[in-house]
Structures are given as C-alpha cells and as structure tokens.
Symmetry: C2
Subunit: 331 residues, 2 copies
C-alpha cells in the first residue's frame, strides 16, 4: 500500500484535513506546520492519489493524447513539445495508440480533463466519426473534416505551398517542381497541390515550367523513387518543393547519390517545418507552421476550452512561414 495523507497525519500528529491543506499550500495552515508536513511527505515518498483527487475535485489535471501511429518520425518532435507545453501549464500528459474512438472512450473513463487527437488519416482509411464526449478535444490536422465536433488546430497548407512557390520564384527560379503525394483521395494532399498550382500561376509560371511529380505516397521510399525519376529527366527543374519530411529525406538521398549537389545544382524546399530537417546531410529549408508554434497553439487552445465550459470550439488555421536553411540558393 502506498502512503496516504492519513499516514502522514498520524505521524505528524495533526488531522488529515490539515495535511491536505498543507500539501496544497493552503494559506490556512501555519507556516511551520506546513513545512513540517511537506517535509514529512517528501521523506515518505508520498504520491497523491490522482484517482481520489479527481473524484472529489472533478479534475485530474491530466490530458490524453491520441497518436495515429508511432511510425511517423515527424510527429515525435510535436508530441514532445505538446507534452512540454502542457506540463508548463500544470497538466500531466499520457498517450494512447488505440484507434481514436477507443482512445477517447478510455480517456473519458480515466477522467482526463482534455484530449488531443492527431487526425492522421492515410488515404486508405476512411474517416471515423469521433466518439461523442463532453471532454474538451482539440484535433490536429483535420480541418478538411467539416463534420467534426472538435476544436481544430491546423496549418494553412494551401497558403504554405503558395508561399513556397513565391519564395523560390523570388530567388529567381523559373522552373519549379512539386514532389509529393498527389492522389486525389486525400484532401490534405490536394490542398498542397492546389496551393502549388495557384502559386505557380500567380508567379507567372506555365505548366511547362511548374510541374507536379506524384510520389504516390509520403514515405522515405516514395521520396527516394521520385528523386531517381528526377535524375533522368530531360529538363530538370532548378528548384523542388517536397511535400513531407520523409519524402524530403528520401529525395535528398537519391539526388545526392545521383551526383547532384544541393543547393548548387538544385534548390530544395520542404513542407513540414520540423527540426529533423536541420539534421539531414544538407540542412533543408522548410515551409510550414513551426512545431513550437503548433504545440503552443494546441496547448493554449485546449487549456482555454478546459477552463471555460462554453468556450467556442472553432478551428484555428496557422500561417506557414519559411525557415531558411542551406538548401536553397539564388539563381
């Protein structure tokens, strides 16, 4: 059995309600009594029982995060940051890898104060209507789902890609390719494609000088294979925008092995503004919402909703920005 406030009360010679107040730093307890109790608790290795605490106080100060899969490297940084942000606001964080509906139910039973859901739906899976729950939920990256009952934080993907084209055109590039998953079943990917096209149009590029290479998927391998295809192209672009971190990594490997030097022979700009891009062979410039901003917005949003029952659950779309590293050059 773990040590309880009653154990501490007995040893300290006070009532257990005094112990409770002391441990919660209540001003109703005399400073030295408080000090004595706090020290005793630390000595005994006391850990408050969150179950009991949340039963009576109606809040657990704990948030559950529903992960789509542990395999996406790009997510790990974001999850870590969300953990930190919420910890900074006084909340504990736990994770689940169950399917969203089951995970939400579990978190409900565990009395989580709030839930963060990664809606990382691959084109193959169909969207599952989330579990109905009273618990505040913030959903990430599902602004394409109109029926959601959740508050949403997402990135302006279309704007991000337009911005990317503008940036490269601004550097003087007149032949630009987008390499990414362009399958029509995935509306998130379609947003990027649309943004690229609009940006190209806006910058006066033609269908000759701005084209899309469909990687048919968003993994390392898809990027690698697209890179090999690019190497044998008759007329190569001078700049490439890749649609996701893993695609970028695979693409970079392929073109480097093919003898191209980045950025001398080819400029490269990646969607997905994640820190891992800086760790690649060539630090790759990025466009997208920075992980730290995303984490901050998700945490703030959730804390807001948890704070007031009737906070409006609207979606918040984050502006993308360019993170300049070493992979793009002036021409």
């Amino acid at each position: 059995m773990n040590v309880t406030i009653k154990d501490i009360a007995r040893l300290a010679g006070v009532s257990y309600s005094t112990v409770s107040k002391a441990l919660n730093d209540s001003p109703l307890v005399k400073p030295d009594t408080k000090k004595r109790i706090v020290e005793l608790a630390a000595q005994l290795g006391y850990q408050p029982n969150i179950a009991a605490k949340s039963l009576v106080s109606r809040r657990s100060m704990t948030v559950g995060v529903v992960l789509p899969s542990l395999e996406r490297v790009a997510l790990s940084a974001l999850v870590g940051r969300i953990n930190d942000e919420l910890a900074g606001r006084g909340y504990e964080v736990i994770l689940s890898i169950l399917p969203p509906t089951s995970a939400v139910k579990l978190f409900q039973r565990l009395q989580m104060d709030g839930i963060v859901v990664f809606e990382d739906i691959s084109p193959e899976e169909k969207y599952v209507e989330p579990a109905a729950t009273e618990i505040p939920v913030v959903s990430i990256g599902s602004s394409h789902v109109t029926s959601s009952r959740y508050a949403i934080v997402d990135v302006k993907r279309k704007e991000a890609l337009k911005e990317a084209v503008r940036y490269l055109a601004g550097l003087g590039h007149a032949r630009i390719a987008y390499i990414g998953d362009a399958r029509e079943s995935d509306s998130k990917q379609q947003q990027k494609v649309a943004g690229f096209m609009e940006g190209a149009f806006e910058c006066g590029l033609t269908s000759e000088s701005a084209f899309i290479m469909n990687s048919d998927g968003n993994t390392w391998r898809h990027g690698y294979e697209a890179g090999r295809r690019l190497l044998v192209l008759d007329k190569r672009p001078s700049a490439v925008i890749t649609g996701a971190f893993d695609v970028t990594a695979g693409f970079l490997r392929a073109v480097q092995d093919g003898g191209l030097s980045i950025p001398d022979d080819l400029s490269l700009l990646s969607y997905d503004n994640v820190p891992q891009l800086a760790e690649l062979d060539v630090p790759v410039s990025a466009v997208g919402a920075p992980v730290s901003l995303l984490a901050d917005r998700i945490a703030s949003r959730l804390v807001d909703i948890m704070g007031s029952a009737n906070a409006i659950r609207m979606s918040e779309l984050l502006d993308a920005c360019i993170e300049e590293r070493a992979s793009c050059r002036n021409v």
Copy 2:
C-alpha cells in the same frame, strides 16, 4: 457531467448498488433486471469512472508504458503488440514519453496496476536508477544493468549473433562481416560484437574471414555509410550481419545503389526481428526474438507479478531464432 450509476439507477427504478452489480455481471442480479440495466447504460453512453473504481477496488486494470523516444521505428511494432497482449488480458494501456523516473511517478499517482519500461539507453546517456515503487515493473532490454529492482525481459543478444554466424556458415559462407555499432561504451552493442566473434571462432573463421565494420551508431545513416564503405572494399564478404533494423535499411539502400544484388552478390542477415524487415526492397532475413514473443513474454510476466505480490522478479532472457526471408543464399 458524465452519467453515473446513480443516474442509471434513477431511470431504471432500482438502487445504485443493483446497477453496479448488473454492470459487473454479478450472478446476484435477476437476468432481466440485468439486461434492462445494461441496455439502459449503453443507451446513455455510460462510461465507468475508473478513478472511483480503482479507489474502491484497489486496482485500475490499467498499465503504463514508458517509451524511450518516439523516433525508433523498430519499437512501434513492439509497443503495438504489447498493447494488444495486455488488452487481451483485460488491461488498458497508456503511454508516457517522460523520462523514466518522472513517468514512473506519474503512473504511480495515476494508480496504474503495472508499468513497462523500455530501457533504451543510448551510449551517451548514463543509466538512471529507476524510481522506487511498489508497483510491478517489467523492464525491457536492460539485462546488462545488474542493480535493477525490476523484473527484466530481454533477448540473448550474444547467443543471437552466434546463431547468425552459424546460420551463414551453414549456408557455406566463408567470409562474413558484422556491421553495427561497436562502440565500447554501450554494453548491449558489445554483447552482439562478442557473440559475432565467438560464433566466428566456433565456425573456424579467422580474423581475415570474419571482421567487424563499426558503424559507430545505429541509425539509417550509419548503415548507409557503412554500406558505401563496403562497396569499395578490396575483398568483399559474401555475407553481412547488420546489428539493428535502421542500420539494415540504410545498408541495403547503399549496396543496392552501388549495383549489388541481394542475395545474389551478397547475403544479408539482420539483427532485430521486426516485421518492417519484410517491407524493405528485399525482404531481409532476421535473427532475434520475434516481436510477438517479446510482447507475449512482457505481458505475461507483468500480469504474473501484478497477480501475486510476492512473485519473484527475476530476469527472463529470450532465445533468438532465425526468420528466413529472401536475403540469404547458399554458396
């Protein structure tokens, strides 16, 4: 507010203790009363409050898993399987990415019945003595730590590598290389190196015909770079053993790009018996404890300890086996 058994009791016209019994499928409740209550609960979307439940029953039927980092692809399959195995035994699973000591404390406060810890210590980090806790803990992959107070499930790494050498020698290979992290600061890696050497000795190979290529790390890039080095070797081995999944993937890419065909020009056997090996360009044969076995042993061990307070917390070392796929051939 969520619906409670009192709400159900009121609507069903029975006492709430009857509702509790009905929902726990007690034989003390008349079948049709039970049926009526269960249906009503489902209609109302009742989710039992685990906090209250664990407070009175002294168990939460929930297990916490402490993850080392979300970046290791090889772990995702294992974590998923552990989740499934424990679910099959009636337990819920939640995860934490806090440092082990903090995670254990959190799980203690959350009244977890048991904890699984991945001791995935990179050579750079130093081992942190785990938090003292009464809660049953199973630690994975830390059999090299003698001071641990936890039950341990681990793989016989040394035996695995010996087995790998024997297997390749059995196929007729007379020139075999081990490619992996051979830095001396990491005792887990050293176990593999030692196993390789012993196996080579046992099979009559000399230091000429069995050699180690230190990849100096266990990531994709380390494997890739080792692969490039192998390509320019004067006298190439006919078979290679790679020390970890990511190394294998990078190595495979490098030698394939270098024009080698697996297994025609080179046989490849990977440590880390994970399903992802089957998804590589060439399905790669593996040596190691299968993920399903590991998950099963971890779950069983934990459930055992949770079941009886005085179960012996000893370590269990799993035998490795060879999983034949398409990457090794007879010579």
